[in-house]
Symmetry: C2
Subunit: 416 residues, 2 copies
Amino acid sequence: MGATTETRREQANAEALHRLVTAEPVLVDIRPAIEVVPGMTPETILTSGAPMPWERYTGGQRSAVIGGALYEGLAADAADADAKLRDGHIKLGACHDHACVGSLAGIYTASMPVFVVENREHGNVAYCNSFEGPSRKRLNYGVYDEEVRASLEFLQEVAAPVLQAALRRVEGGIPLRPLIRRALNMGDELHSRNAAATLLFTRELVPHLLDVAEELPEQTRRCVSFMADNDYFFLRLSMAYAKATADAARGVEGSTVVTAMAFSCQEFAIRTSGTGDEWFRAPLPQVEAKYFVGHGPQDAEFMGGESIINETVGLGGFAQAAAFPLQDYQGGSPEQMVKANLEMYEITAGEHPQLRIPSLAFRGTPIGIDVARVVETGITPVMDIGVAGKGGGQIGAGVLRAPLACFEQALERLDG
Amino acid sequence: MGATTETRREQANAEALHRLVTAEPVLVDIRPAIEVVPGMTPETILTSGAPMPWERYTGGQRSAVIGGALYEGLAADAADADAKLRDGHIKLGACHDHACVGSLAGIYTASMPVFVVENREHGNVAYCNSFEGPSRKRLNYGVYDEEVRASLEFLQEVAAPVLQAALRRVEGGIPLRPLIRRALNMGDELHSRNAAATLLFTRELVPHLLDVAEELPEQTRRCVSFMADNDYFFLRLSMAYAKATADAARGVEGSTVVTAMAFSCQEFAIRTSGTGDEWFRAPLPQVEAKYFVGHGPQDAEFMGGESIINETVGLGGFAQAAAFPLQDYQGGSPEQMVKANLEMYEITAGEHPQLRIPSLAFRGTPIGIDVARVVETGITPVMDIGVAGKGGGQIGAGVLRAPLACFEQALERLDG
């Protein structure tokens, strides 16, 4: 690579970084996907990962898509859903192509409520559906039964109307970066730990919930109880924040900065700013996980996942040193967490000027993964993830490293 | 000291430690001091520190006591208050002798609402009045004017009735140790940082506040707003927790474990488990502080302070390594905070089995300050404190070390 190319790349990456750190995502609403998600149709189901033909979806992710079809009333039973997914009657889409991001299997159907997050600085909008609740059985972990249906109905019929009424009372919406900034001071890295952000978000809503309670007393009590019981509630808001941020950095010619990372049940894949919507794919990596009692590595199964959009914008594994309590949940020691976090500065274009890590003397989070640096150093992104089990459900949590191959492919394309 | 004495002391300290770590403080109510505080009379004013004759109180602490007299309607003006304090018409008492602890000047008068915290394991009860609000002008920082009066009236007439109604709806009260345990995972050390604990406490109350709002709609909204704006709100609950805990360890014959530490405007003083209610006094130490803009060391003034009851039970400076965000507020670096925190294990009788510090690989907090170890090592307790300014008001925050002399005196008495 010549000096001029290098300068051009540096400039392109500076622009991508600038867009990442100046993003101002603001939560403004929660609405049914069909009303707001671009390209959504009544027959669309979105799922996580670089898209593949329906036949390649297996295990929990396949079950989750079929579960979505049943929940939405698009099919009479699993066989019917399978047939309709084969013949295109039900349209399978990739979350990332619809300004959405999926947690694990990441199922979106038309009627599901989604948080609406506007990037006030750059004008783009991102969406994320809601955390399903504390049960290990969830649609996004590949399970669909009466319990899961009840959880999804609760979100749609009880929680969403209350949250919508409260959010619409908040003048100008709720800016998410200030909440994330504070949560980083309170033990969250905003991927596997969202306990503080959930509390901070709840506090923002409480005055408005007092008003909503006058109209919807019973629903408001149930919604408050749901949020109080779910330290993970904010995860979907941090994901929508991250998607709104990352999307703003798309399309900078020549930039080697990563704009998306995603799992499907078969592959890990990335996109970069300079290569548009092309996915660079690699085989699934190894997980180092801490399993819930009664489970082990033999039970683990990949079933998709795009919550690593948070790592893409410098949260999660890239802010591990802000979240030492995670050593209990996903294993590791404070020293290992600091070491992994510090490594991420080797592969990123810069540091976030507002989002800072207290244990690193308030150093800004490493942000803007540069595929050129990843390939040069051989250091790949570290990611905090929930681990799904064969047959569905969450069975643990862990840390994993992205596979190098997709970064090499992306760099080759960018160099080409 | 002979081997038998040593064994006896070890046994005594083990008993004191056992009482400290098994305490189960539960918040059950908020009521006017006159209704619940032992020995309180309509003419009593409590203040911080080992007691002294009225004439020795100077500066902000003196102003605060006089302010308390005016607020309570015990005197027509400052001169009248001074005269009545001199002749005993107004009775000046020490908070610690009334199961209370005072923040800074620590003024309690008969009508002020106090949190009621029962130690379910040991049967004793402790009390603490409420945080006055975010203004730098507060009675406990030595200021009394119309603004301060309005804050105190707000607590008495708006916040206390709402909190009382909410607390009385909580079956069995609110156990405080679980909230403190979680807050230590969320960047609080529960003295200079109570942001997470305040949020966690608020979350416990929200369902009940929805009910209270039906009866007291306007007051509930004002109370919720007060709690939302005050990250320090929980400090008084952590102090009542600490007092309920420390008092349980009083009176173990031969124990060298500290049961109270307190500042007045003139002295630092401690009590130990084996020496009853005697105070061991020493001159005031030096403060290392970070001052608010426009202030410096020349403006600092001691005006009392018993929030260091939190350090007495292993919080505050003894859990600094849980609260790296404090480097911004009170100075220091993460490394200095870890170092100071680790030193405290050299002078304590044990570690708390439930309350743990994430950055120290979940090591239990050091608890049970042993005057024998303090004297042997020359290491004195580290304390996170707010710094008051001459003329009143908070002007900064800092870290200080207790003076050695009072530990030497206590050990001499215990050895004697």
